[in-house]
């Protein structure tokens, strides 16, 4: 052993870093894996690894604050009688009442409505607060079918069949008994206080051939009025997108591994599925090969944070994006103003992810009546609307700089990548070169 002197510096292992060591100690002490909310936290190739080129000699920019740059998007044009018409290409992802408080769900509806976009239910059914405050509400059709009923199905503006999600492709869910209030239990037809398992497979169909029949049933029940989305986790984006088209989707939502969850195993979040960046181009390729790009709309989600992310996803071929974690932050989740309370929970603002425990001091991921009351749905909804507005303005700023009169006119040719990995995933040139990994060079 070398004696520590002023000339040496103790070296920590890159393999056994501080977090890894703490996880080994935690596992040894508790005998159970870590469960948490949110999405992947590890560094991943992402949209930050892309840059827009902007206008130059060969591209003509549009004037900021003067020339129009459209942001509207229509979802569900393939089969539905009543497609969704959004003012902005940013939707609110599905998050359940149960994992979130009724106040949080109401705030999401309020914010989305002010911004001219849609919000989405989650496992556990539709609440009157959310329906009442959401001008456009997408009703998730999940394996558990908790709260599923034809009346709410008909009240919805669209239906989203959830096959998987980015945080846990192939995984179900567990809402711990701590959060099963009387109301949540009643909506799910289960006893109060027990852990409620959300199934990982749908109970009455297996595979895309069955799903096609299931979707036709949902269309029959709702008289072919509602757009039907299929949400898939970022596992096999090329094939899953193609099969979703085959199954009859109007809209496909692809959710990368940065996408959040209310609760699942840390090992699942960090080690199953693909980064959002890696999912977009294969999904777009599948749509293009089937002649369905822009006919079946593609929504990308998983770690979307700002207008640059929105613009990059659209440039790679998406029609819209969806946000979950970022929307919760806009409502007030992980706010440094609550640092003292986060400290009491053994964490810190920005790192709080024990959403399943129901002790959220921000009143968002909780069913505790006292904590829930802390969230003012009107004020929080306004904050979300502001945030959505900023994201939209940012995306427009970038689009104008690339000479586009609509954000949907952004294209891969507007982008370069900062890393070889990102260049390969996004299929755009590495910055400073004309090299796209995987593409043949003459």
């Amino acid at each position: 052993m070398t004696k520590l002197t002023s000339q040496t510096h103790p070296r920590k292992s890159a393999t056994f870093d501080d977090y890894t060591l703490s996880e080994i100690r935690r596992a040894a002490a508790t005998g159970i894996y870590d469960i948490r909310g949110g999405g992947a936290k590890r560094p991943l190739p992402g949209l930050d690894d892309l840059l827009f080129l902007g206008a130059s000699m060969s591209r003509y920019p549009l004037e900021g604050y003067r020339e129009n740059c459209g942001t509207d998007v229509v979802l569900g044009t393939r089969f539905a009688k009543n497609p969704l018409r959004l003012k902005i290409p940013i939707t609110i992802a599905g998050m359940s009442f149960g994992s979130l408080s009724a106040q949080a769900k109401e705030a999401l509806g309020r914010g989305a409505t002010i911004a001219g976009t849609s919000t989405t239910t989650g496992d556990g059914g539709m609440t009157p607060e959310e329906r009442g405050q959401s001008e456009m509400l997408i009703y998730q059709y999940l394996p558990s079918r908790y709260g599923m009923n034809p009346d709410d199905l008909r009240k919805a503006d669209a239906i989203e069949v959830v096959v998987g999600q980015g945080a846990k492709p192939g995984g179900g869910g567990m809402l711990l008994g701590l959060k099963i209030s009387e109301r949540v239990a009643e909506m799910r037809n289960l006893p109060q206080g027990i852990d409620q398992r959300s199934a990982c497979r749908h109970p009455d169909w297996t595979g895309p051939d069955d799903l096609e029949i299931k979707i036709s049933e949902l269309r029959e029940i709702t008289d072919w009025e509602k757009p039907i989305f299929i949400k898939i986790g970022g596992a096999r984006p090329y094939y899953d997108t193609a099969l979703s088209v085959k199954a009859g989707a109007d809209v496909i939502v692809i959710d990368g591994m940065q996408g959040g969850t209310a609760a699942t195993q840390e090992v699942f979040i960090e080690h199953v599925g693909q980064p959002t960046l890696a999912c977009i181009r294969p999904a777009v390729k599948a749509l293009q090969e089937l002649g369905m790009h822009r006919k079946v709309q593609l929504i990308v989600s998983g770690g979307i944070r700002n207008g640059a992310d929105v613009a990059k996803a659209l440039a790679l071929g998406a029609d819209a994006v969806s946000i979950g974690t970022a929307a919760l932050v806009a409502l007030g989740d992980n706010d440094p103003e609550l640092e003292e309370e986060y400290q009491k929970l053994g964490t810190t603002a920005g790192a709080y992810d024990d959403w399943h425990e129901g002790r959220d001091p921000a009143g968002i991921s909780t069913q505790d009546p006292e904590l829930s009351k802390r969230l003012d749905p009107v004020l929080a909804g306004r904050r979300l609307a502001n945030y959505l507005k900023v994201m939209t303005l940012e995306a427009q700023t970038i689009a104008r700089s690339c000479g586009k009169s609509h954000v949907h006119n952004l294209e891969p040719e507007d982008l370069v990548a900062l890393t070889v990995e990102a260049a390969a995933m996004a299929q755009v040139p590495l910055s400073g070169t004309d090299w796209i990994p995987g593409k043949n060079h003459d």
Partner: protein, 226 residues
């Protein structure tokens, strides 16, 4: 009774007629030539009486409310899935996932039901004249599942509060499913269900199965069961 010929007007035509009726409508319909088509008479929302003369495909009577539907023939996957109320009867056999996630009403299968009968059921009563396949009653939450014949492997796996009554043999019980005592209350409920279904069987011949409730809250010591 109004005749709807599915061969002429298709599934969409049949369902449009049935959906366009007011919620207090009590009309009678006979659907002819169902041809094994899917999604027939799904999403009904009125106390109609609907008789389907022939075999049906997937999801017949799905999400039914109030209507009484009789299928003279066999039924495909997901018969009466997510039914809320009303009464659905099939005179033949039913394929997989009959009564899946159904919240209410009565589903009667006079013949056999395939695997996953009553999966995730949430309050419906299901009476099967014959036998059921494997994984029936998987994650069943509430309601009653009556099986006059035999049950396949893993009956009631991960069951919550549904009560399962079986007259014949059980190939095997699923995780956290155990045999339970038949109390007078259970005999009474079983008798009522058998009478409602019109199936003849002696309640004294049945055994009851339900949840051991050992997996209701996650416990690492139960890891072998998960």
């Amino acid at each position: 009774m109004e005749i709807l010929d599915l061969k002429k007007i298709g599934v969409r035509g049949v369902n449009s007629i049935l959906h366009d009726l007011s919620q207090d409508s009590r009309q009678n319909f006979e659907i002819q030539n169902p041809q094994g088509q899917h999604s027939i008479a799904c999403g009904l929302d009125a106390p109609l009486i609907v008789e389907i003369k022939g075999h049906v495909g997937f999801y017949c009577g799905g999400m039914n409310k109030f209507a009484k539907i009789t299928i003279t023939g066999h039924a495909g996957v997901g018969l009466a899935e997510n039914m809320m109320s009303g009464n659905i009867r099939v005179t033949g056999n039913a394929s997989e996932s009959a009564g899946a996630t159904a919240h209410g009403g009565l589903l009667v299968i006079e013949g056999n039901a395939s695997s996953r009968c009553g999966i995730s059921m949430k309050g419906v009563d299901i009476v099967v004249g014959g036998s059921v396949g494997h994984m029936s009653g998987f994650m069943a939450q509430s309601g009653n599942l009556v099986i006059c014949g035999d049950a396949g492997e893993a009956l009631g796996d991960s069951i919550y509060e549904t009560k399962i009554f079986v007259r014949g043999e059980v190939s095997g019980l699923g995780t956290d499913c155990i045999e339970k005592e038949m109390t007078p209350e259970h005999f009474s409920k079983l008798s009522e269900l058998l009478e409602s279904s019109g199936l003849k069987a002696d309640p004294a011949d049945f055994r009851r199965y339900g949840s051991a409730r050992k997996l209701y809250n996650f416990d690492i010591d139960n890891a072998d069961a998960y």
